[in-house]
Subunit: 307 residues, 2 copies
DNA sequence: ATTACCATATAGTAAAAATCTATCACATAA
DNA sequence: TTATGTGATAGATTTTTACTATATGGTAAT
């Protein structure tokens, strides 16, 4: 296989029309060019130069090939330049995984500020359930994960991000005892709807239901928070909705009643995850610090930042 | 300065995700790759791979640079190809891409005559779904593509080849109204099976189903025309099968009923594609002319040649 | 004709780079 | 635990590249 250097020699000799002069400009000796050009011609199976007594001229074949060689070298220089840009880590594309119960309600608050801070940063966001996020991160399908994941294998790093309360949603036409915050005993015997068991939220809800003696309705499992909300509106039961969802999607109090649970013990905790030995790990930490600042500044009234 | 060989190593390791396996496929030893990749990373000033215990994964930076490296290598292959073609264009090996729904049923009619005309011509045929064919052609993994592709980027040339009708296949033991050609209204409410959405045929079928009020069954998607046929035989629904497939594979009328759709408006159109600036483009045109002659002569009763 | 001077080609050697063998260290699966 | 997978490393070896010195051939002035 030929080399980029041979192409460089090719281009230079073609331009100046002389091995000696080209050699001088390239900082090598003339025999080097003789040998390397021959090797290139051998590799291509084509004679590139016509060596005359006072000059070394391109053959028609060489003339056809020269522009392509020049383009290729330009492209090579382009790659080198890209690489130098990318080397500061904020010029790359990272694959970010988030659960569908968080992404659409968190990222709109995050991405604009992030883009402002890291102009050249690109995030490919993909939604998957938490288990898949964890697996995908380990297997390298994701570079970063933000989600309600509480413990991770040694190969990953988990940095706590924030705590998000879950609110009780009930239909407005339902006759519900509590007016302000709801006590656990108010839930006794009531039907509760929840996301399917692939979502971590469900475990929190299960625990509450068990303590409060509420009935977790397994027949109707929401596949999205929107579906869940609709089911509550239609009177199929109550549900716990995460604060960021409520903040971004619940605008009509006449349709749905949203209340806080007494004691503030119902929440989920989101973390920022990446592979411990990822070459960009230092940049990830910068990123995490910045995300935390944005959350504190813009979402501090809804969630609680963690350390 | 880095070398083309290092880029080749880069690409191969990126693809297989393992130094050892890549080394085997490249015909070198694993330490060679360790050293050369490190040298390439050094030259670019960027870490391309994340070496874990189980695998060697691309970093985000590597992922960003890989396409450029592939493009450069494709261009290098292009230069080599140009050089060889400067003497004799019909003396080469071309990589022909076809969809799996066409290749096995068209090429057996084409290749013998083609070989007779161009004794030294070699075609490496490879089957992929249409989208991949188009991508592969752009990226230089294919030289030629024959398939049902209707529009192409500026960098490619699309030459229409022929129009192939789609026939309705139904199980013989099904009570089906029409005896000769089938009218669209005969399809109302029936179950239709189709290839998955990566195949262009599906779009034609979707259109017909919508017009005729048939039900496109999405639960069982055929992954090959043979599977599709088997599913029809087993009574899971009707399907539209392309004429060349019917011609070459349907030999038992007692197993499957094949009918034409009234109006002759259901068909797919195959084209002959190549890169606009491919050095062999003139030869490709010769090739296309010859293929068209063969089709007209040998398959004129089944398909309609186009210009 | 001879000589000086321009070009590229070649031979042989030295330096550098690429590759291989062998082995290590570590993780995972059986 | 062992067997087998992963990449990293050291040192020997082969291959490639480049250099020096010289050869070859042709032109132009003497």
């Amino acid at each position: 296989m030929a080399s980029l250097r041979q192409l460089e020699y090719f281009a230079e000799v073609a331009e100046v029309g002389s091995l000696r002069q080209a050699a001088q400009r390239l900082g090598v000796t003339q025999p080097t060019l003789t040998v390397q050009l021959r090797a290139l011609e051998e590799a291509l199976g084509v004679v590139l130069f016509e060596r005359t007594r006072n000059a070394t001229l391109l053959t028609p074949a060489g003339r056809d090939l020269l522009p392509e060689a020049l383009t290729l070298m330009a492209q090579w220089r382009n790659i080198v330049e890209s690489a130098h840009l990318i080397s500061d880590h904020s010029h790359s594309t990272y694959r970010l995984g988030v659960p569908p119960t968080l992404g659409p309600y968190l990222l709109p608050s995050l991405l604009p500020s992030l883009h402002q801070r890291f102009q050249q940063l690109r995030l490919h966001v993909r939604e998957e359930v938490p288990d898949m996020l964890l697996k995908g991160l380990e297997e390298g399908r994701f570079d970063l994960v933000i989600g309600p994941i509480s413990s991770v294998p040694e190969a990953l790093v988990r940095e706590p991000l924030f705590r998000e309360p879950l609110f009780l949603a009930s239909p407005v036409d339902m006759d519900f005892p509590a007016v302000g915050d709801v006590a656990e005993r108010d839930l006794r015997g009531l039907d509760i709807l929840a996301m399917d068991e692939r979502h971590t939220m469900r475990r929190e809800v299960e625990r509450i239901c068990e303590r409060a003696g509420a009935r977790l309705n397994s027949d109707y499992e929401g596949t999205s928070l929107d579906t869940l909300r609709q089911m509550v509106v239609m009177g199929m039961g109550l549900a716990f909705l995460p604060a960021l969802y409520v903040r971004s999607e619940i605008h009509r109090p006449e349709e749905l009643r949203v209340q806080r649970l007494q004691g503030g013990r119902l929440f989920r905790e989101h973390a920022f995850l990446y592979r411990r030995h990822a070459p960009s790990r230092h940049f990830y930490q910068q990123l995490k610090a910045h995300i935390r600042e944005i959350i504190t500044r813009d979402l501090g009234d809804t969630v609680t930042p963690l350390d």
